[in-house]
Amino acid sequence: MGEAIAVSQPRGSGPILETRDLKVQFKLKGGHKLSAVDGVTLSIVRNQSLGIAGESGSGKTTLGKTLLRIQKPTTGTVKFEGRDVTKLRGKELREFQRSVQMVFQDPFDAIDPLFTVFDAVTEGVRVGRIEKSRDKLEAIVSDALKRVQLSPPEEFIHRRITSLSGGQRQRVAIARSLAMNPSVLVLDEPVSMLDASVRGGVISIMEDLKKSGTTFVTITHDIATVRFFTDTLVVMYLGQVVETGATKDVVSDPLHPYSQALIAAVPVPDPSYHVKSLAKGEIANAAAPPSGCRFHPRCPYAQERCRVEEPKLREVRKGRFASCHFAQ
C-alpha cells in the first residue's frame, strides 16, 4: 500500500529514516514484559545529525538496533526512504543493510587476537559479497583509513586490532562502516571509551563526514560532547521520548524536568561551577514503570496529576516538544 507512494517519492526529499509509534517489548521470566522502547516516533532528516541522550536503561541502544533492523519492533514501524524496513527483501534489503551502518560501543571488545585492520574493515564488504578482488578491497580499506585519518594507510592496514590504542580502534570501527559507503551512520557512545586528549580527533572526523553528506544518529549519555555535532536532540527516559528540539535550545533551556536534571548534572571544566542533582533516586525498572508520568517519583515538581495521568509529547514552543503536564 504505502509501497507505491514510496517508490514514486523522489530520493533526497522527506526523512531518510523514520519511526512511528515504535514499541519493542522483551518477554521476561514469569510472564512479565519489559518495554525497552515504548511508543517512539522520530524523523531523521537527510544530512542532519541527531543525538539520542538518556541514562542507561532508557532504551537508547535498543532504539538504535531497531533502526538497523537488528532488533524487530513489537509494534510500530521503521521506514527507510519511505519503505517499511521489515518488508524489504532481496536486492532492496541488501541496499538497506549497506546504507545504514551502526558503530557499536567498544566494537572490538572480544575480537580474535589475529584479526588485522584489513580483516576488520573489509568484513562487511566481504560478508555482503560487495567486492571480492584483493586489489579492490585494499583500495577500499586504504580510502576508509584515510577518511578516519589513520595515515599513511600502509602503516595500519596489516596491524592487529589488539595492537592499536583505544582512539585508533574507534577510528577503525568507523572506517569499517565507511567501507560500506553508508548514507546513515548510527554511533553508540562513539567517544565515551576514549581519553579526553584524543576524543576531539574522532569528533573532527565525524564533523568532516557530516560536511560530506553523511546522516548521523549518535546515541550517548554524554551531552557535553553531542552538543557540538548534533542538530537535533532527543532525550529519552524509560523507553519514551520526553523532549526533542534543536540541540542548542534543549541544552541551553531544557523544558522537561528530566532534561533539566540531566543537563544540570553534566560537569563542566570550570571550578566556579558546581553540578547539581535535581532528580532524586535512580531510574525505575523498565519492567515495572511508574504510573502516570514515568519520571514523577524523581521529579522535584511532581503533583498528584503526574502520578495518575500520562503526559503526551506536545509542542510546547515552536519546534520544541516535551511530555510534561507543566512544561511551558
Binding site: 541514562e55 542507561s56 590504542s165 583505544g166 582512539g167 585508533q168 581519553d195 579526553a196 586528549s197 584524543v198 576524543r199 576531539g200 580527533g201 569528533i203 573532527s204 564533523e207 549519555h221 554524554d222 551531552i223 557535553a224 560532547t225 552538543r227 557540538f228 542548542k248 541544552v251 541551553s252 536534571a261 540531566l262 543537563i263 544540570a264 548534572a265 553534566v266 560537569p267 563542566v268 571544566p269 570550570d270 571550578p271 561551577y273 558546581h274 553540578v275 547539581k276 542533582s277 532528580a279 535512580e282 531510574i283
Partner: protein, 326 residues
C-alpha cells in the same frame, strides 16, 4: 614541598611492574603533600599511573609490582619500613582508607552487605559484630541507603547504591584520609552528580582529607582544592584548582583542558595529536615531547623535574617560565 599541615606526604615513589615485554615504569619518582582537610584531585589519562600511585601509597600492589620510596608518611608516621601486620592494624582503614576503582564489583557477591562491613573491620581492628552493624547502619543512612540493605546481597543493589555502600565502608573506622579511585566513572550523569554532592557532605561532616582520582578533568574541577596532573607515570603539574584551570603551566595540562567540552558553550573540541606513550619503551627526555606543540631539542634529551613556581604551583617543563603568570 614540605608543608606544616601535611597529613600525607610521599617522597620519590617509584613503581615498576615486571611484564613479558620487560619492566613497565608505571610510577616514576612521585613526591607530593596532602594538606589536612584538603581534597587533592588526581587527573590523568588511562594508563598514566593514577591507580598504581594509590596502590603504591597503600602498599597494596599486585605481586609483579615492585616499589621504592624515600618516605611515605601517614599522619607523621613513616610506613616505608612497616610490616604488613602493622600496616593493617595501625594504618590501613583506621587512618587511611581506600575506595578501589570499579568498586561496584569489589563487593563479594556471595556475602550480605552487613557481613562485608564486619569482615572489613575485622581485618583492621577489634570491634564487636553488633557494634559494627550498628555503625554501618548509621553510615548507610548518611550516604542515602536504607540500612535494611545490610541484609541484601550486592547484586540486589544498583550501581549507585553499591558506590554509596563502598563509601560508607571506607568510613567505618573513622579514617582521617580517604583515597577514592574513579568513584563515579561507571555511573550515569545524574547519579554521578548525586555521589559528588554526597562526597562533599561527607568530607566536611567527617573532616576528611582525600585524594580523588578521575580521568575526567571536569569532575575534578567540581571537587578538588588542589589538582595533580599525571602523564606517563609522573606528576607534570600540581596547583590549586583555579590555577590549573586559569593559569596552567604545562603544555599537557593546557591541551587537556582544551580537549574537554563545556556543555554551556558551543565551541568545537580540540585534541592533542598522538597518543600517550608505551610505558615499557617510553620516549627519552620529557615523556610528553612527541605530542608537545612547543617541543625543542632539550626536551628530547633531558627529563624536566617538577619545580616550584610562585603561588604553590609546581610544573615539570623546561619552558615553564613562559607560562608563569607574572
Amino acid at each position: 614541598m614540605p608543608s606544616a599541615t601535611s597529613i600525607l606526604s610521599v617522597r620519590d615513589l617509584h613503581v615498576t611492574f615486571s611484564t613479558p615485554r620487560g619492566p613497565l615504569y608505571a610510577v616514576q619518582g612521585i613526591s607530593f603533600d596532602l594538606g589536612e582537610g584538603e581534597t587533592m584531585g588526581l587527573v590523568g589519562e588511562s594508563g598514566s599511573g593514577k591507580s598504581t600511585l594509590a596502590l603504591g601509597i597503600l602498599r597494596l600492589l599486585p605481586l609483579n609490582g615492585k616499589w621504592t620510596a624515600k618516605s611515605i608518611s601517614v599522619m607523621g608516621q613513616d610506613v616505608v619500613s612497616m610490616s604488613e601486620r602493622d600496616l593493617n592494624s595501625a594504618v590501613r582503614w583506621t587512618k587511611l582508607a581506600y575506595v578501589p576503582q570499579a568498586s561496584q564489583n569489589a563487593l563479594d557477591p556471595l556475602y550480605r552487605v552487613g557481613d562485608q562491613f564486619v569482615e572489613t573491620v575485622a581485618a583492621h581492628a577489634k570491634v564487636e559484630r553488633e557494634d559494627v552493624l550498628k555503625k554501618a547502619g548509621t553510615l548507610l543512612e548518611q550516604v542515602g541507603v536504607d540500612p535494611a540493605k545490610l541484609q541484601s546481597y550486592p547484586w540486589e543493589l544498583s550501581g549507585g547504591q553499591k558506590q554509596r555502600v563502598m563509601i560508607a565502608m571506607a568510613l567505618i573506622l573513622e579514617p582521617k584520609i580517604v583515597i577514592l579511585d574513579e568513584p563515579t566513572t561507571a555511573l550515569d550523569t545524574i547519579i554521578q552528580a548525586q555521589i559528588l554532592e554526597l562526597f562533599k557532605q561527607m568530607r566536611s561532616f567527617q573532616k576528611l582529607s582525600s585524594i580523588f582520582i578521575s580521568h575526567d578533568i571536569s569532575v575534578i574541577s567540581n571537587i578538588a582544592d588542589r589538582v595533580g596532573v599525571m602523564y606517563a607515570g609522573s606528576l607534570v603539574e600540581m596547583a590549586s584548582v583555579s590555577d590549573i584551570f586559569k593559569n596552567p603551566i604545562h603544555p599537557y595540562t593546557q591541551g587537556l583542558r582544551e580537549s574537554v567540552p563545556d556543555v554551556r558553550k558551543n565551541k568545537p573540541i580540540s585534541f592533542i595529536p598522538g597518543t600517550p606513550p608505551d610505558m615499557v619503551n617510553p620516549p627519552p627526555g620529557c615523556r610528553f615531547h612527541p605530542r608537545c606543540p612547543y617541543v625543542q631539542e632539550v626536551c628530547k634529551k633531558s627529563d624536566p623535574p617538577l619545580l616550584p613556581y610562585p603561588g604553590d604551583h609546581y610544573a615539570a617543563c623546561h619552558f615553564a617560565e613562559r607560562w608563569v603568570k607574572q
